[in-house]
């Protein structure tokens, strides 16, 4: 009888555990193993110890070192450009949607959320046409005569625009849900005490949605580090590889032309993973402590 009861939770958790093991944990472990090898995906991996890491991190004459540093630099730039917008903008929209006089809240939310459901490639094709010098409206609107994907800083701008367009909705929904969970009497009593809207936002809303804020901040940052589709589709890494992000190099090495260089690619991926891990942990630590 006792035994029978203890099976129930296993059935609920089981599927997730199995999926996690098969599709996340095992590949991760194998990926870490592969990063210590030379491997072309077909023959058996050859153990090379820390060689891949040494090449990537310290051999400044190596192509892989230049690719890694350039890729990481561009990825960091992408994170710096997009994450603040992807946190602040949805938060502002969510707060403004709380105002009593705003009509069609559901519609506005839907309009902002739908882009997130569209695949990056389809979205990118549309945006490329919008930014096209001859066909698009942007050239006329800004009276600009440059080809945006091929010149900086425009190349970054179009990547940021499509990222924000596709990413605002997801965080917006989380913020709206958590703001609607904040007790109304807090606002009422604050108003009675004479607190203005800004004070109410800073002293009630923000502390109340602390955990959703930390969560979205950490997840958005981790997601931004894994950026791949937007620069690939919009600029193909150009001009002069200045928007060529790390994931593009990793993919090109492992699944590009000719024989695969999967060991080196894995090492780059592991290094990227470590960077994400450190930054996420740091974010969580700092925000949690400040909020407490």
């Amino acid at each position: 009888m006792k035994k029978k009861m203890s099976l129930a939770p296993a059935f609920f958790v089981g599927p997730h555990i199995i999926l996690f093991l098969v599709f996340i944990l095992l590949p991760t472990i194998y990926g870490i193993y592969a990063s210590f090898t030379k491997w072309n995906l077909m023959s058996d991996p050859t153990w090379v110890g820390l060689d891949n890491y040494r090449t990537i991190l310290f051999d400044s004459s190596s192509t892989f070192h230049t690719q890694f540093t350039n890729g990481l630099k561009n990825t960091l730039l992408f994170v710096l450009f997009t994450v603040p917008i992807l946190i602040v903008l949805p938060l502002l929209i969510a707060v403004s949607l709380e105002h009593k006089k705003v009509k069609g809240k559901g519609l506005i939310q839907a309009i902002l959320y739908v882009p997130g459901l569209i695949s990056i490639s389809a979205g990118a094709l549309i945006w490329l046409l919008l930014f096209n010098k001859q066909l698009g409206f942007v050239g006329n609107l800004f009276n600009s005569d440059v080809s945006w994907p091929a010149n900086q800083p425009y190349a970054w701008i179009i990547i940021i625009v499509i990222t924000v367009w596709g990413g605002v909705g997801g965080n917006l929904i989380i913020y709206r849900a958590s703001i609607s969970g904040v007790a109304q009497d807090l606002y009422e009593s604050a108003s009675i005490d004479g607190a203005g809207p800004i004070r109410r936002f800073a002293s009630i809303t923000l502390p109340s949605i602390r955990f959703p804020l930390i969560y979205t901040f950490v997840m958005t940052t981790a997601g931004a580090f894994n950026v791949f589709g937007q620069p690939l589709m919009m600029t193909d890494g150009g001009p002069r590889q200045s928007t060529h992000v790390l994931m593009m190099y990793i993919r090109q090495l492992a699944f590009g032309n000719g024989e695969s260089i999967a060991g080196m690619a894995s090492a780059m991926a592991v290094l990227l993973g470590i960077v994400i891990l450190i930054i996420s942990a740091l974010q969580y630590y700092v925000m949690n402590r400040n909020a407490a």
Partner: protein, 415 residues
């Protein structure tokens, strides 16, 4: 109530598990030839039709065409696990040397022995010989798909330069002669497949991409090739950097488009675009090259492939050899001579490239084993060099190093 919940969770987990696990199993049907191709575009439909036609002849073993996105990655996976290896696949010419070196291709010896017509004489010679390594035949060709040059007939007439086409070679000098003569917004040539165009110029200048098996990227010939093509850009005759030159050709603003044989169907779909096809422009008036690749039938190593299946593959390839007119519709240069010498084939635009010996020879397929890395380096950097965004010498050094580093990493793994 509790019971109901239980039932639901069991059902849910069973469903989930079964979806997860069905991906792993899959018995190979002994009566079917599994045929993988990377033909994810429109050409996949033409191949579907060919396979359907073959199966309609009621062969003993039917062919099942599986269009496989990311095919080369999947090939790596099935080869390393040894399970689910397709019986037959279409691979690109540049994959053959690497695959043979890694020992993952089965020679076509038995297939060819059973089908006397599957021989070099019946195919475009270079398409056949890309599959010949140390006198062993590893592939049977389907086509050559090449970089070619489309021209806008109306624009040629407008600028009075139809004479460019007289000798079938449009030279860079001829292109440059149009400097200052074009209306605003018109261009002589676009930058479609620019990397392929560069690799053709290497041949036109009598160079190569290798020397004694070592990659040769940072060479005087490569530099010269880039400098020649760069002249077109510097004269303002190439479609601007970062713009869709392919689209600009289709909208009637560009005289020449250097894209692929396979684009002819798309160009034909553009209303009012009056176009023809010729050889890719050249640095010299004496030589022209159209850099090509080839779709090849090949068998990946698979111990479970029965003799019956090998015989079936032979029959299928013989059927394709005799009946692949359908493939011409996809715009490709069909490799089988029976097809490309037939009167019906002359209706297709790409028949230009098999119209005489010189044309046939202009279709050049690189067979150097590290060609893919070199092509990648050229593709990555050619735009910036031709547009004058970077220093040629420095970038050629970077490219040479790029290829050498990649070779060094892969060579160790292949052993």
């Amino acid at each position: 109530m509790l019971k109901k919940k239980w039932g639901f969770s069991v059902l849910a987990s069973v469903l989930l598990l079964s979806t997860v696990l069905t991906g792993c199993g899959g018995d190979d049907d002994k009566k079917t030839i599994t045929f993988w191709t990377p033909l994810t575009g429109d050409d996949g439909a033409y191949m579907d039709q060919l396979v359907k036609d073959y199966n309609a002849t009621n062969p003993e073993i039917k062919v099942k065409h599986v269009i496989t996105a990311d095919m080369y990655t999947k090939i790596s996976t099935v080869l390393s696990s040894g399970k689910g290896v397709p019986d037959l696949s279409i691979i690109h010419a540049d994959r053959v040397p690497g695959y043979v070196k890694q020992g993952v291709l089965e020679p076509m010896t038995d297939v060819i022995a059973a089908q006397p017509e599957l021989k070099q004489d019946n195919y475009l010679p270079q398409a056949w010989s890309t599959g010949t390594i140390d006198n062993v035949q590893y592939s049977v060709p389907l086509d050559i798909h090449a970089n070619v040059m489309y021209y806008n007939k109306d624009l040629l007439a407008k600028y009075g330069v139809e004479s460019f086409l007289d000798d079938n070679v449009v030279t860079i000098d001829e292109i440059l002669s149009l400097q200052g003569k074009l209306d605003e917004g018109d261009y002589v040539v676009n930058d479609a497949l620019l990397g392929w165009v560069m690799l053709a110029q290497i041949q036109n200048l009598g160079g190569d991409i290798q020397q004694d098996g070592k990659p040769a990227v940072n060479t005087p010939v490569m530099k010269q090739a880039f400098e020649e093509v760069k002249k077109i850009n510097d004269a303002g005759l190439m479609t601007p950097f970062g713009e869709d030159g392919y689209l600009m050709f289709q909208s009637g603003n560009v005289l020449f488009s250097t894209d692929g044989t396979w684009s002819s169907t798309a160009h034909a779909g553009v209303e009012g675009l009056n176009f023809g096809v010729t050889n890719v422009y050249s640095t010299s008036a004496d030589k022209f090259t159209n850099r090509g690749s080839s779709h090849l039938f090949a068998m990946l190593k698979n111990e479970d492939r029965s003799e019956e299946k090998v015989a079936g593959i032979g029959q299928f390839l013989e059927f394709i050899r005799a009946n692949s007119m359908e493939w011409a519709k996809a715009g490709q240069i069909v490799a089988s001579k029976q097809v490309n010498e037939s009167p019906e084939y002359q209706n297709y635009m790409q028949s230009f490239f098999t119209s005489n010996e010189q044309e046939t020879q202009s279709l050049y397929i690189y067979t150097y084993e590290y060609y893919p890395y070199i092509a990648e380096a050229v593709d990555t950097y050619c735009g910036d060099i031709v547009r004058g965004n970077v220093d040629i010498d420095e970038t050629l050094q970077t490219m040479q190093k790029f290829v050498e580093d990649k070779i060094a990493e892969s060579a160790g793994a292949a052993q």
